[in-house]
Symmetry: C2
Subunit: 744 residues, 2 copies
């Protein structure tokens, strides 16, 4: 029975749910505090003082936020989704699931969003969820020196990977209240290895995360108790709830295809721009030699981004006059049981005079409330902006000027923000940018056909196209399909526009793929994380190579250090000290007159752990009896990483120099992995890649027909650029001696 | 570029969408016709004449429906989801994607549902979708003798499998208007091999299917043109649309857990009952020796099921009086723009007097319409019943008596129906059964707490618990999780109750798994389809065996017929004629003094195709020059099945007897698969299974350390029962000579 696994999944879900709740509450609280500060200045129209106050408080936050990432996090750079994806694909990344990284990322992310930068907390939440998944399941921390004797049976890399995947999914589930969306997100983008059992456990984890966030949010808002504990209002739970579903016309598919194309184009532009900015940034910072200076200048860049953002945010509304809140918006209030009272002043009102509300003689509620379009779109945060843009029946609430201005500034500033030295996410900015141009397209339709109130024309609603546009841009940047569609349904509760969303997503992905890779893939490449796609891809002179025509021997590393069943301690220590290989093939001679054949593999870590136990060393004399020595338990030699690397170095040094170890031997037989897969040198490269990737290997031994070791293939050998280089050399040499036999 | 693949996916989607539309239209039309016939008898309360008419028309349909399956379909039995699942897992199943199977299944399914049996069209629709996927992508039919030169590049088993998967998903997408649900259903239950590219193509296929069904249904209803072409009303698109989302209380999770437990218990009971009935049926029919008699008695069983079903359907409402249509239901009409007119008589009114409607002095619409609870639940079809049960705000519309009676009859009759000789699906019955007991639980809550109209008690709504119950029973029977949740959201548009649905689904699956396997797995086992799970499972004396402790040699077939690079025609023909192996290892001696090593494999089909080309046969003399003979193209020998089996038998016979072929040889080298994976005999059984399953193999050669062939493992060798038998023998022999060395 797997009760402990389920319990752990539940715990991870609850943990991530609490974290998601905290993140939201703190962000909302800080934003409210910030605007409370300048309320009076705003009402008097004192923009300069507003700017000073908002910038000042923002600066305080961003300095802490960026400082934490640069100086406190062990990596010195913000980690996020690409690193988690790379790790789950099998790459090894330092410090990614560290306690310090967790604290730094959490605080940095909360402060960055609250400071007013154009970013969201989603990316970091996925990473934080993954850290919780890792930390809780392993129940130990190297940084803190803690190691608790719970759940020890999950101390292996397969289970660890599963819990990390579940935690990452719970992050999305909590932040969007989208449990199924979070699950599918991990399936589509995060996890490289997946089976239905893991899916089903992640399902539970995401459920618990969404439930916890809902439960805690039900009664607390900005850390103030509002009653109704355990009462989930649809209004609050469904982030961008679309209340009135529109009957749809097939004509709506025309602007949707257009939005899809826009999404693909803008998305591809965003990706390439972001990568360019990142490369430029990389080059600039690496030109600064002094570490402290480089770190400080990274921090200064974040400050600069914030300065620009705040200036735009505060001064742009100055150029816009006050717009009356639309009647259609007011009409909705009539049906609800809301009590007529003076409105609480919202940020979107900005410097406009306060409005009042009254009930007309016809029983309908009226108000003369006004708001500032630019302030509504830019001042608060992206989430609130999306809420305004998605709202149905508000055809002309936002005009072309405010939408286009907001789009331009938001697009470039969010592109610049992503990649600067703060922990920030891109999901909200992507949805928001898309919603902006979606609404512009909707507004164009309204301009052409007028505000339609009859049933047949109900679909010409800018709110609908804002939602479709949001999906299209998200897809254009991230190239997600299934999970994105499900997330859209979960955050809007609008199944009726599902087909439109799917179509926009599809077109955007197709157009985007035509130009470049998805943002995550591009970042994986940029950051040099060795990620293996599920299918091999290599091209030569712009033609895609058919890897069926190449062989395993074409990419293997032919110089392999092999071990024998009986190894000398001194030479083994020397080998480990002088190489950095992660694993070694072990060979053996079945009979004295036969060749040495491949028997299995042993990893570097296992060798190191073995060498730490002198009790199993043998002298040369007991040559024949193999089982005389005490055997080490499997648990003792299977570790995630070396407990004490400096001590190991000393030990290796001692073994290689002290002459007594020249006489000692170790019998590796009980410890080698005899089920290690090998391929024949004449295997097709395509097949070799599939075997390597599908079975999730780290090393693949290449043998000849007699089962002798002739080479080894590692992850790096199968990366696209490496493949291309080796195969190009291969093709060149083939051209030279083209009369060579294809088969040997 | 993959434009042809996308086009084909689109075509498959459109085809399946049209088929789904047709299915629904015909069923609705036939049901309407049937009840139109007895309208007058019903109004006069003449139950006997009603029974005769309904039974008569039903019998006519069921005889055709069952007759088609039994006498016309090549398999003589209804194929459905289990066969598709088995095929995609790698099992070979005869006639599954045949034109005759398609026609028979389609007509049989439509007539079975229309006849009044307690079944739905979903299972057959998945199968039909898969057939469309197969037929369109291969663009050829052996039955019809058609072979068109389109899309020839997809004539391989991998692509075929992908198109079949997409078609199956489109089937669900079309029938539920749930594109994402259909996609996830294939991922979770149907497909054994899956990658993100396939997901993304299936996504498109499902989108096109749902769109086509929507578009065609928008203007046609029962084949009558109703206008509004291309106008998708939410009312029609979302099958069981929940219009008013309820604010939820955390207390709702308590009855949800209870429903989950019920779902698990009832689900497990349903599975075991269905399997028992199927076994009984199997035993009974196999005791009838004469084929025609056996087939006829199968048909008679369907007739018997129908007789019972119709009798219950028609006479049960006799015991129920007329219930007034609830005020709450009437109130809803007020908001819509419906014109006051005499109601069209619905089947649910049954023998009740016609009602009229009027507008009261308070502007609210009233009516004295009445309906018969049992008729509403049983007479029409499950889909309509679900619609009534899911409706919110109808707290006391159905009483305990009608719900419990309907539940009892529906549960047993649908369990009996599933497996009889008609093409029928179980999805609607599963949802319906669950909705029935869900509503009973909801009614109990209403009895305890009363009809709550305030905000805090809104969640005590039997409609909500009917939906949760439906999900729980579906999960209890099918053990689906993710796809089920998404389908529930897509057919109800209720994200607010998502957490409840997830929880119920989870609990039901856990409880159900405790008792038995899912219905599909049980049917796969019952039908003897060799399905390999993603993880091996074998137990010995009720303890689960750790397969890491066993080896590949423990389950391999040690007597292997190996081929050499140069084979004699006569002996090859004899080998093929005398064995039924699907593939053979090919061995070769690198140097005269060395042992024969494993080089690759060749399949039986490839050997047969080679033998049909006498041009490549060699005489003994040209022994040295390997490449003198003409080479056959890869396309010529890679076929799905033998073009002409009788001719092949003759040819083999001729080769083995005619002495001239004793002198002829064939050089197999150019045709063997040199990238065939092999495992060492000392590989752990766990690892061997994972390699076999993950790489989707059909044969796995077992070699020793010198790379000599020592055995072969096939799909059958890895089936649970086979594993258990062999390992039990292994354990027994280990006990006998327990002093034997574990390593050799």
């Amino acid at each position: 029975t797997d009760w402990d696994r389920w319990m752990l999944m539940g715990l991870i879900g609850i943990g991530v749910g609490m974290l998601g709740f905290l993140t939201h509450q703190i962000i909302d609280y800080l934003i409210k505090l910030k605007w409370e500060l300048v309320k009076n200045y705003l009402q008097n129209g004192n923009f300069h003082m507003t700017w000073i106050c908002i910038l000042g408080s923002g600066l305080a936050m961003i300095v802490v936020s960026s400082g934490l990432v640069v100086f406190f996090c062990p990596a010195g750079a913000p980690y996020g989704l690409p690193e988690v994806i790379g790790f789950l694909n099998g790459a090894s990344i330092q410090h990614i699931f560290n306690v310090k990284t967790f604290l730094g990322t959490f605080v940095s992310c909360v402060l960055a969003v609250a400071s007013g930068l154009f970013c969201g907390p989603e990316g970091p939440m996925i990473h934080l969820g993954a850290i919780i998944g890792c930390g809780l399941s392993q129940f130990k921390s190297d940084t803190l020196g803690i190691q608790l004797p719970f759940f020890t049976r999950f101390w292996n890399s397969a289970d660890k990977r599963n819990f990390i995947t579940a935690g990452a999914g719970a992050g999305i589930a909590s932040v969007f209240r989208a449990p199924v969306g979070g699950l599918l997100f991990t399936l589509e983008e995060v996890a490289s290895f997946w089976d239905i059992r893991l899916a089903w456990q992640t399902f539970f984890c995401c459920l618990m995360a969404a439930f916890t966030t809902d439960l805690l949010s039900s009664s607390l808002s900005g850390f103030v108790y509002r009653g109704h504990f355990g009462f989930f209002k649809a209004e609050k739970r469904i982030l961008f709830w679309v209340k009135n579903l529109l009957d749809m016309s097939v004509l709506a598919f025309v602007p949707t295809i257009f939005l899809g194309i826009l999404g693909g184009l803008f998305g591809a532009l965003f990706v390439s721009l972001n990568i360019k900015i990142n490369k430029l940034r990389e080059r600039f910072f690496s030109s600064i030699k002094k570490t402290s200076l480089r770190k400080t200048s990274k921090l200064l860049e974040s400050v600069l981004v914030l300065g620009c953002t705040i200036t735009v945010t505060v001064y742009l509304p100055y150029f816009f006059s006050c717009t009356p809140v639309m009647n259609l918006r007011t009409l909705q209030l009539k049906n609800s049981s809301e009590i007529i009272s003076p409105f609480e002043r919202e940020i979107s009102e900005y410097s406009c005079p306060s409005g009042t509300a009254w009930i007309g003689p016809d029983g309908v509620k009226y108000s003369n409330q006004t708001f500032n379009e630019a302030a509504a779109l830019l001042a608060e945060n992206g989430k609130r902006g999306i809420m305004y843009l998605f709202r149905r029946g508000t055809h002309e609430e936002f005009g072309y000027t405010s939408l286009i201005t907001a789009l331009a500034f938001y697009f470039f500033l969010s592109c610049w923000t992503a990649g600067s030295a703060v922990a920030s996410g891109l999901v909200i900015p992507m949805l928001y940018t898309g919603a902006l141009y979606g609404r512009i397209v909707g507004l164009i339709l309204v301009s052409i056909f007028g505000v339609q109130t009859n049933e047949q024309g109900a679909w010409i609603d800018p709110g609908l196209f804002a939602a479709v546009g949001a999906a299209s841009f998200f897809s254009g940047v991230s190239r997600l399909t299934i999970s994105l569609t499900v997330i859209m349904v979960e955050i809007t509760n609008d199944v009726q526009s599902l087909l439109l969303v799917m179509l926009a997503v599809m077109v955007a992905k197709m157009i985007g793929d035509w130009f470049n890779m998805s943002l995550y893939s591009s970042l994986l490449k940029l950051k040099g994380i060795p990620y293996l796609d599920s299918e091999p891809l290599a091209s030569h002179k712009k033609n895609r190579l058919n890897l069926e025509l190449f062989f395993a021997r074409d990419v293997m590393e032919p110089c392999v250090r092999v071990l024998h069943l009986r190894e000398n301690i001194a030479s083994l220590a020397q080998l480990i000290a002088s190489t950095s290989h992660g694993g070694f093939p072990v060979v053996y001679k079945p009979k004295p007159d036969q060749v040495e054949v491949f028997l299995g593999t042993i990893t570097r870590l296992e060798l190191c752990m073995l060498l730490q136990h002198e009790a199993i060393f043998e002298t040369e004399t007991n040559h024949d009896s193999l089982s005389c020595c005490p055997l080490l338990l499997y648990q003792k030699i299977t570790v995630e990483k070396l407990p004490d690397p400096p001590q190991m170095t000393m030990l290796l040094n001692c073994y290689s120099t002290d002459p007594q170890y020249q006489q000692l031997f170790i019998n590796l037989e009980p410890y080698i992995n005899k089920s290690a897969v090998s391929v024949q040198a004449h295997f097709s490269l395509q097949r070799t890649y599939i075997i390597f990737r599908t079975l999730g290997l780290r090393h693949l031994t290449v043998v000849d027909l007699q089962n002798r070791v002739v080479g080894i293939i590692t992850r790096k050998d199968l990366m696209s650029f490496q493949l291309e280089e080796r195969l190009a050399r291969q093709l060149a040499s083939q051209k030279r001696d083209s009369d060579e036999q294809p088969l040997d």
